[in-house]
């Protein structure tokens, strides 16, 4: 942890601040959320790393997808993700978001969440223990340092791809697109 190195704070204050003040949206996505309260309470204290639960997505910059994602939950996840201000980071817990995990043949869960929401980091386990959560956060710090945690940029650049996948799943979405999608048909008439 390079929190005490003052020269880095003066050179890149934004990056250092984003690392050491990760507020996670307190959105209990799936069964993995059972491992989050132990990690923010007294035994495995996450607040000493700056990780705090945030009640509103507008305050947060970390989104933890903990466990399986049902189709109904995915709508709320997309909505919450779009409400967060940039730069934002997503971390997926467990094996269900990676490839379906235990519910690999269920009609109701999402097998590859990466098609709908960009994910920066994956933590293996079913469910990962608080120590694994801390290792994941540390790896996220290293990625932020290197500039490799670019999920939000991917979302912005490939928004059409994500939106198409979302609409294939849900039909017409009631909320308008987050970034303007240029109309392909206009280009053809040249």
């Amino acid at each position: 942890m390079d929190r005490g190195q003052l020269s880095k704070w003066f050179k890149h204050p934004g990056i250092m601040a984003q690392k050491y003040s990760l507020w996670a949206v307190y959105f209990c996505t799936g069964c993995g959320i059972i491992e989050v309260p132990p990690s923010i309470t007294s035994r495995w204290d996450a607040e000493r790393f700056g990780v705090m639960p945030a009640p509103s997505p507008r305050h947060a910059n970390l989104f933890m997808i903990t466990g399986y994602v049902a189709t109904k939950t995915l709508k709320a996840i997309i909505r919450t993700y779009e409400l967060m201000p940039e730069p934002k980071y997503t971390v997926a817990f467990g094996s269900c978001p990676i490839n379906g995990g235990m519910y690999w043949d269920s009609y109701n869960t999402i097998k590859h969440i990466d098609k709908y929401i960009p994910i920066d980091g994956w933590i293996a386990g079913c469910m990962p223990r608080p120590e694994a959560i801390f290792i994941g956060v540390t790896k996220l710090w290293m990625m932020i340092d290197k500039g490799a945690a670019t999920g939000y940029k991917r979302y912005r650049e490939n928004y059409e791809y994500y939106r198409k996948n979302q609409e294939k799943l849900f039909g017409k979405l009631p909320w308008p697109p987050l970034f303007p999608i240029e109309d392909k048909n206009e280009k053809l008439t040249v």
């Binding site: 959105f27 709508k75 709320a76 996840i77 909505r79 919450t80 409400l83 009631p174 909320w175």
Partner: protein, 621 residues
Amino acid sequence: MNTETLLKSILIVSFGGAFLTYILGKISRVLREIFAVLTGIFVVVFSLMLYGKTGTFIYAKNFLGFSLLVSINNLSWLFLITLSVISFLSVVFSLTYIRGHERTDFYYLMLLLVNAGMAGVVLSADLISFYIFWEIMSWSTFLLISYNRGAALSAGMKYIIMSVVGSAAMMIGIISIYTTYGTLIISEISSQRLSLPPGYILFLFILFSIAFGIKNAFWPFHIWLPPAHSEAPSPFSAVLSGILIKMGTYGFLLIMYVIFGMKVFLELGSSFFSFHNILCWLGAITVVIPTFTALLQYDAKRLLAWHSIGQIGYIIIGISFGTSLSVAGGIFHFINHATFKALLFLTVGAVEYRTGGVRDLNSLGGLIKKMPITFIGALIGALGIIGVPLTNGFVSKWIIYKALILEGNSFLAFAALIGTWGTLLSFYKFLHNIFLGQLSEKYKNIKKAPFCMQFPIIIYSLIIILFGILPGIVLKVINTILISFGFESLNVTIWGIASESGILNTINIFTAIVIVVIAVWIISRLGAKTRLVAQDDNYAAGSYIPKEKYNFTAAFYKPMTRIIGPVLKDIINNFYLILGRGTSAVGNGIRKVYTGDIGYYVIYIILFLAVLILIKVGFKL
């Protein structure tokens, strides 16, 4: 033009203009509107030309054996300029507001007659013309309150009954003064220093207090005000709340400081139960109870009407407390309250006009995007009535608080201070439920308020801010009034009042606020850029909720309502209802005497003759 011509022409122009507008209005609508505006402008211009002049002149000799006089002095001038400006701006507002209603010519006639009556009241120098103009003002008000028919009829009835009772008390008082002093000219009464028994003076004061108190609508006499102000058409509500109830204040100032003089007034009665102390405490109750009753209202105009009663309490505390600071604060608060209450009623009128008559706070919302200037006007009016620094309401309230605290009367100061917080809560509810929140689909297409409505709103907002930053403009005039009453003058400068313990320097405060806002704005530019989003892109716990269903307006202060609701039942209203029903029952009982059967009448005659004969015979024995 010399003073005499000016005074007489104000009366002639205002009365004549009213009737001319009515007659010309029968010909064409445009002529009526032009003449109404012209009448208003001329009264304003003449009032401005009267600044600084004094004088008393006869305008009618030998009216029932009395001569009627008009006079102008600083006190009358202050009231005159306020009422002429407010009436003129209300006339401008009603050009678009009342267009298309029925009986518009009657409306303009009554509005201008009220203006003329009020001008006559403040200009009159003897009690007969005071009474005549008071009555003209009262019944034209009654006719205009009932203009909308429907629920307005009972509101008007409540008003006129109480007003007639007040006028009757005033008549008794005037006759009593005539029998004691032998003259009805105000300057002659005040110059005769008779030493009268204090019981008689108390009797006169109580009579006049009933008359002026009913018009002024403070605590035991307030029940006519909420229905009347909420059912009247909005530009007239502005005149009603703004200036008409202050005619009661003018009357109070007349009897307290002009006719009887400061010494007599302040020494009436013994230490706690002295007359001015009881008036102060009634004023304190008036500040607290109606302000918190206003919290419970959900009709926008009723909320504003209850607040009118509350702010009158400040004025009453100010003028009854009896020190120079407090009287200055009271008179200044009268001017300030006229501006912001008129402004608030006009904004509600604009909202009503555009939404088709809706003034229910539970169903409006989000109008800030459609009517921005109306919102800014309502915001400045609300800030003024709360008393935020930089508005004129703050300066007058500050003066009143200082006067109360320096004399050591902390309980009155506490009652006055707690009124501010009640005002804050109710005006946040007012602003939020009308302008903030989500815009409903019903009101998606309403347009901005028309120019005739925006013009008075802008003028009032500018006046509020101007008198907040440079209160010395008004305080200098008030200083001369205080000297004429016999108080010591205040140390007034253009930016505030300087006294030994705690000064007020509004220019410094204004500069400090401007500098700090600019500094904070520069700091906020350091942050990353933000983008503008629609209102429905909002946190709703992960769902997407459409506009109509995501608004919180109903039962805005429910926990507070639950606590203070049972305490604030209007017991005075019940008292008056019982009084009315009792009188009606007594009358019904007496009516049973007249059975309609001639046999009974013959018996009554015979019995009465028998009683007479018995009395005659009895005396002989």
